[in-house]
Symmetry: C2
Subunit: 340 residues, 2 copies
């Protein structure tokens, strides 16, 4: 069995591709610690709290692997880009936890829980601002432009998801659009900027960007599968939260398509909050109706597209490393498969 990371991230730090990045991540941690000195003294502790709450540093890994030139020390520019995407990601987590009313993230109280939601709103803003400030330390405005658009798109995706909560007017196309914006965009820009800053050819930058986007969509679908098929103890969070919070993710969309009209109506009422969600019943239906295999198939489609994007670039150093990441996600999805 593939080792799994807490909280749904697809790898633990000691395994394969992440093992290769150990030195890179040390450089990133040191850089993030240095950044604390840039924050106003009054908010340094809060910023430190938010920056420490890091998980597997998946987006920095995409930056490092897309800019891969060997396992030596990463360039200062690559570390800076990695810090930018991680800081943007951590800012979105700080804000997400307010909106979700989450109390715990990675076994610690969330920023909102510890400092209050008002401070959490503002700290998220300050982290966004500082991330964008770091982008101004590149010679041109290109990095700032890419990151600011990505950030706006991530927010747009989350707004759409938020406004649709509890609504049944969500179809496959809506789901894909939301995932594309809220998750795939930051994966995409991480790969794009990693390749770009490392000076890889423009054709590869475009390929890495496509790879990142498809990997990101695949990763979000995997994460939505974890919410139903994960093991609570292993992923460290409550299962079934998408059902209870009215989020029509792909497993639920596929389930809905396969249910009889009466059961569809019942599910609709659960999602709309007019009926207590029957998580056990829904899981049983998902198993019986083959929902897992269907959704896992969608991840496979995305991973195939991701790999295809890199196909013309087999000779380049980053290609096998990014391929390992796709393999890892595939293995993680497999490890969720329910016993049949």
């Amino acid at each position: 069995m593939v080792p799994v990371a807490p909280a749904g991230e697809p790898a633990n730090a000691s395994s394969g591709v992440f093992g290769r990045l150990a030195g890179h991540q040390v450089a990133l941690d040191a850089f993030l610690r240095e950044q604390l000195a840039e924050f106003e003294p009054e908010i340094r502790d809060l910023a430190a709290y938010a920056l420490e709450a890091s998980g597997k540093r998946l987006r920095p890994a995409l930056v490092f692997l897309s800019g891969w030139k060997g396992s030596g020390a990463p360039s200062a520019e690559l570390v800076r880009v990695a810090a930018v995407v991680e800081m943007v990601h951590l800012a979105t987590l700080v804000h997400d936890d307010i909106m979700d009313g989450a109390e715990v993230r990675r076994n610690r109280p969330t920023v909102a829980r510890r400092y209050g939601s008002a401070a959490a709103v503002l700290l998220g803003d300050a982290l966004f601002a500082h991330a964008l400030h770091l982008t101004t330390q590149f010679p041109t405005t290109a990095v700032c432009a890419a990151v600011s658009v990505a950030m706006r798109r991530v927010c747009a995706g989350e707004i759409v998801q938020t406004l649709r909560r509890g609504s049944l007017r969500v179809d496959r196309a809506d789901y894909t659009r939301i995932v594309d914006l809220k998750t795939a965009e930051l994966f995409r820009v991480s790969c794009q900027l990693g390749a770009e800053v490392a000076g890889h050819p423009a054709g590869f930058v475009a390929a890495a960007s496509r790879f990142g986007r498809h990997l990101g969509i695949g990763y979000q679908i995997y994460d939505d599968l974890v919410d139903f098929f994960g093991e609570e103890a292993r992923i460290g969070k409550t299962l079934g939260t998408d059902l209870t919070s009215g989020k029509l993710t792909l497993p639920l969309l596929v389930l809905r398509e396969r249910l009889e009209p009466v059961e569809q109506e019942r599910l609709a009422e659960e999602l709309a909050g007019r009926r207590v969600p029957d998580l056990a019943g829904r899981l049983e239906q998902m198993r019986r109706l083959g929902v897992f295999a269907r959704v896992a198939g969608e991840v496979a489609v995305e991973l195939a597209d991701a790999r295809a994007a890199l196909a013309p670039w087999q000779g380049l150093a980053p290609t096998p490393r990014l391929g390992e990441l796709a393999d890892l996600l595939e293995a993680q999805v497999r490890s969720l498969a329910p016993a049949t």
Copy 2:
């Protein structure tokens, strides 16, 4: 009597210095409307709602006046900078209204009230992101660097204020620091960038920056006076909210210094939320103990510093225009003076 604007802004659009800016503000409005097309279609209506909620466009006025070259059409660069600072300001308002639980701003439901606080958090983020994206349309990273630092400092100021709410461990120095960060910083950067983008000499850019900072501190003190000495009907919001929300602003700090120990203790309990605030009683004490004159004196000190910064630049086109703005704020403060 000097005409006053709704909601505590120091001028109405038809009067003197703002009258001169009518054409500039039309250009700004047109530019902001154009920007909506840049937002993802799903969030365009929300963005339009937030951007329409504009007040007197005070920060854009600072940009235009600091970059003043005559009443002709402003340059595209100046309009862009004005849009950036206004968008950052509107984003902070969207977030402030969530944290304050405000239901109405400028006679319309707040974004949080209309679309929910989750969408409001994200929309504020998207506005920040787009404002910073606009800064990347300048040839160098300088504008983005200045705005991103200013934004982080504004957030830091608001975080400090938020964490201190209801606390009595706030002294004059803390108040000045909070005001300097949360309000004066964006005034300062508006003046700096207006002067810089218009191509005025470096010495004037520094002077305008100092002018903006002192004007901003003065403006915030004025705004804190309005909360106690304004007329509810005229400013369009409830008075005394700083007392009821436990914000130790300058009028309350001065009052505290002048109260007997027993009354100081009572005020402390009101601020901490352990006793129902006696707004009428506090106002009566403020009148009796000359709090208004003392606080108004602090505005005068800031305005003197602001004017002094511009003194060496009398010959330059922006100087008299910025001076008019200082005069206007002075007149606004005078119009609040309680009858004696």
